[in-house]
């Protein structure tokens, strides 16, 4: 008996060969080389010079790198905090109120509408908003002038005081639909009887939302929080198009900073060190994510 099952389970390894080879060449090898370069001074041509940890010492004292990193932390508000909270409220509202009063079709329509900004390329979203926020003929300043608030008009993306905030507005717009879709699917798992029982026991809407809904869709909330945090570290296209990291470096983010080292200033060794620092943070977040998912699976199987 034992023999026949092992016969059935054998011979699958072959199918992994193309995948493993492709991975070694496209992901592992470049990652290792990047790791190696981060210990060198290299301008992309000639031979790299081994300098040990010097790039990382520079990194620790590099104010622009830390500013980029701090910007990413601020952008977490736009990518993770606001979309998760607003998405949770919107999804609950669509699910509870709109579906029960107007039917599934109407609430699906709203869900699709809120999701729309997610499907266009990040760089194109940047182009559209750059156009909207233009200092001279942009829509925002046009509206301000039209309602008599000419003094409020502003070079939103071009001045240091508002550039990061403007980028955040764009990111919230892009990001909001993702949690709405995930949370609406999650809400379908909640059995209506639980909410009904709570209502009979006199629970208010807010109490039900807080103690039942949020509690039961906790897995999805964590998925959204972790994935959007990882996406925050990867933001590139929007910043490239909207501000190019400027003015000065006020809207620089690590990925853009690494790009600049590689392809603008030609500090390839240093760029590798910057990108390695990003990779380490993302790997830590991924481990957190996997840990959480496997714990979730274990809980479900019990």
């Amino acid at each position: 008996m034992k023999k026949s099952t092992s016969f059935i389970d054998q011979g699958y390894g072959v199918f992994l060969i193309p995948g493993i080879i492709a991975f070694l060449i496209i992901i592992i090898l470049p990652f290792m080389i990047n790791l190696g370069i981060s210990f060198t001074a290299w301008r992309g041509i000639g031979a790299p010079v081994w300098i040990g940890l010097k790039n990382f010492q520079t990194l620790i004292h590099d104010s622009v790198f830390w500013l980029s990193f701090k910007n990413d932390l601020i952008l977490l508000i736009a990518m993770t905090v606001i979309p998760t909270i607003v998405g949770l409220l919107l999804a609950t509202f669509l699910f509870d109120y709109i579906t029960s009063n107007f039917g599934q079709r109407v609430s699906s329509f709203f869900r699709a509408g809120f999701y729309l900004p997610q499907i266009i390329p990040g760089a194109v979203a940047g182009i559209v908003w750059e156009w909207i926020l233009q200092p001279n003929s942009g829509v925002v300043n046009y509206i301000l002038k039209a309602v008599g608030l000419s003094s409020w008009t502003h070079d939103w993306l071009g001045s240091p005081s508002t550039a990061l905030l403007a980028v955040m507005v764009v990111l919230v717009w892009v990001q909001i639909g993702y949690p709405v879709v995930i949370f609406m699917a999650a809400l379908q798992r909640i059995e209506p009887e639980i909410l009904e029982a709570a209502s009979i026991d006199g629970a208010s809407w807010l109490q039900k939302f807080y103690y039942i809904t949020i509690h039961l869709i906790r897995p999805e909330i964590l998925v959204v929080v972790l994935t959007t945090s990882i996406y925050t570290l990867k933001i590139f296209g929007q910043v490239y198009v909207l501000t190019g990291g400027g003015p000065g470096n006020v809207t620089s983010v690590p990925s853009y900073y690494a790009y600049k080292q590689f392809f603008e200033t030609g500090q390839v060794g240093y760029g590798s060190a910057v990108s390695l620092a990003m990779a380490v943070i993302i790997i830590l977040l991924t481990i957190l994510f996997i840990n959480f998912q496997s714990r979730q699976e274990r809980e479900e199987s019990i």
Binding site: I8, F15, F31, N34, N101, I119, P121, Y142, I282, T286
Partner: protein, 281 residues
């Protein structure tokens, strides 16, 4: 009295709520609307009536000018070719990997899966320079092939992860019965596993296509010349060049969004099914 009045008050409130929510949606959709209405205005019209007025006629000059300026036909062909090829090979590679890991349950599969997921999440910056160097070394720099190779692997990392978990629930009896009947492993994949998982494979296909279409960072590095650019790349690189005027800029935004809006209309169901299936973005 009360039971009769109650529903009517309620229904008025209901409609007010719906209108309020529609207003919120309208704000979210405003960038799409604005870009559309201003792409069909003349520059003079824009100057006279501003960005908020409805167009007084359909003027396609800005759109056509921009289309020709960036050779949009070529750009569309590039994007379609790259995204389609990546979607096809990405799905095949995911299928092969997931067949070994999900159905085959080979040893150490959990670690291999973690490794695949990590590869998908890894910042592309940490691979960018070596990939750029490789592409030059193998003379595929500035060709669609370079981008296709890289994204087939990156997308299949996620595909492998998602598909393996789907396959681990694959009915064991089917596999055993077919094997005992003398079906080879390849036959198993070709005639049983692949056909039965077609719905999941089609979700992956659509996502790979759209993700690849929307990619920006690596194409920016690997495809420098205008003739090889993808849609987001062509839009971004041409932004603000040739003293582009305001209606031309909105035309570029519209042309950049339009293909994705069309995909969305076609694949809306597949997309929502996919997002809810795996926490896919």
């Amino acid at each position: 009295m009360a039971p009769i009045r109650h529903p009517s008050v309620n229904s008025v409130a209901k409609w007010i709520v719906l209108i309020a929510l529609s207003a919120v949606l309208l704000i979210v959709l405003m960038p799409f609307i604005l870009v559309t209405i201003n792409s069909v205005k003349t520059e003079a019209e824009f100057g006279l009536y501003g960005p908020l007025s409805l167009p007084r006629g359909l003027n396609f000059t800005s759109l056509i000018d921009f289309w020709n300026r960036v050779n949009f036909t070529q750009v569309l062909i590039n994007s379609t070719y790259i995204s389609l090829t990546v979607a096809i090979f990405g799905v095949i590679l995911s299928l092969l990997n997931a067949f070994a890991l999900g159905v085959g349950k080979i040893r150490g599969r959990v670690w291999i899966l973690v490794f695949f997921l990590m590869a998908n999440f890894l910042p592309q910056e940490a691979l960018a320079y070596p990939l750029y160097y490789f592409a030059k070394f193998f003379h595929i720099y500035d060709t669609a092939l370079s981008v296709i190779l890289v994204f087939t692997v990156i997308q299949s990392a996620f595909g492998t992860y998602l598909l393996s978990s789907v396959f681990s629930a694959f009915p064991r009896e089917l596999i055993e019965a077919a094997t005992l009947d003398g079906c080879s492993k390849l036959g198993l994949l070709e005639y049983i596993v692949a056909p039965l998982s077609l719905p999941t494979l089609s979700v992956l296909f659509v996502f790979f296509f759209i993700w690849t279409w929307n990619e920006f960072f690596l194409p920016l590095i690997l495809l420098p010349s205008n003739a090889n650019q993808t849609v987001p790349l062509a839009m971004a690189v041409n932004q603000g060049q040739y003293g582009m005027n305001i209606t031309a800029q909105s035309a570029s935004g519209l042309l950049g969004m339009l293909p994705c809006l069309i995909f969305f209309l076609i694949f809306q169901r597949t997309l929502t099914r996919g997002i809810t299936a795996g926490g896919i973005k």
